[in-house]
Symmetry: C2
Subunit: 210 residues, 2 copies
Amino acid sequence: MTDAARPARSENGRRDLMDIAIDCFARYGYQATSIARIADSAGLTKGAIYYHFRDKEELLFEAVANRLSQFERSVSGQILPIGDASKALRDTTRVCLDHATKSNHRRFIVTLMVEAIDTNAALAEQFRAMMQRFRGFLGEVIKAGQGQGIFRSDTDPAQAAAVYAGAVMGAEIQYYQDPQGFDLEGTVNAFLEQYLASLEVRPGGGLDKS
Amino acid sequence: MTDAARPARSENGRRDLMDIAIDCFARYGYQATSIARIADSAGLTKGAIYYHFRDKEELLFEAVANRLSQFERSVSGQILPIGDASKALRDTTRVCLDHATKSNHRRFIVTLMVEAIDTNAALAEQFRAMMQRFRGFLGEVIKAGQGQGIFRSDTDPAQAAAVYAGAVMGAEIQYYQDPQGFDLEGTVNAFLEQYLASLEVRPGGGLDKS
């Protein structure tokens, strides 16, 4: 067994494999990606993959979970603890735009999430929980803004969170459908401005100006 | 050949078949739906199906096109000619909510649209064109509102159309993902109110009040 073909037994090796797998899935689609193709891309034997993952579906599940937690850490790392709630929503939007445009991984995740609704109950549950966590996080930001006195107190945080999550996801899907023709950044920013205007006690205000 | 097994040669028969096919696809998924199953549901022979459609994919394409044009006729029939633009957006939202909740066909269409992005270029093109038409329609409503003097003239109609299309689609997807737990109507209506407030010269106004 050569060095390249030796199983990467460390947690790092496992994480690298998940990155490579997501990359293959995003590029070729889940169906068209074999364990052999992932092994090839990783410079490993198929046996080395099976050392870490029972089968392709387990690899998909783990890779998706890993990618979702990367996104969540990326959001919470840049936003928590919540300071100015308006700024937190602007920062969250910027992270979403970054993830949507920087690589094709997010596109794969979002399209897989929708596909899973009707085709894979376990995966659908994983995504449902992720969306609930994302809405929960957004709801906390909105509650924080209400506590800071910069967001209107008559807004339902859970409902406002659902509006935000939908508008950003719906803009992304239009972009994935038509990457050349659809202005993702303009659309998401236009949404964000009207959203903040509807939340803020003094539209255009924030902690620093209130 | 019995009466039931005789090909329905009329345009009506073809339309009925597309309805039955969409129903099967929505219920069992495209992959799990065979021509035999559709024939069974229609009370026809497989030959009768092949009289109208070359294969399952052509049936899917035609059925999707038929369903999209039903939605578009439903929107335009209730909204055109555009009167009060705010009311037109309220009516469009109501039609979207009706379609999203009345049957599982719309869920199938929306999830298929996202799935097609990476798996079926011809179908993806069909959906891309549909979304462009929908945004075009919304843009016309917004321009009409600007012409009526009830919508702000500094809004970019195309961008505002993209925001609306995304917010409604994104809310729908959250609902399809979690039909029991997600409040589709509340979310879409909350979005609509903030959207109209951002468009209207005098928020809460309309033709009748201006």
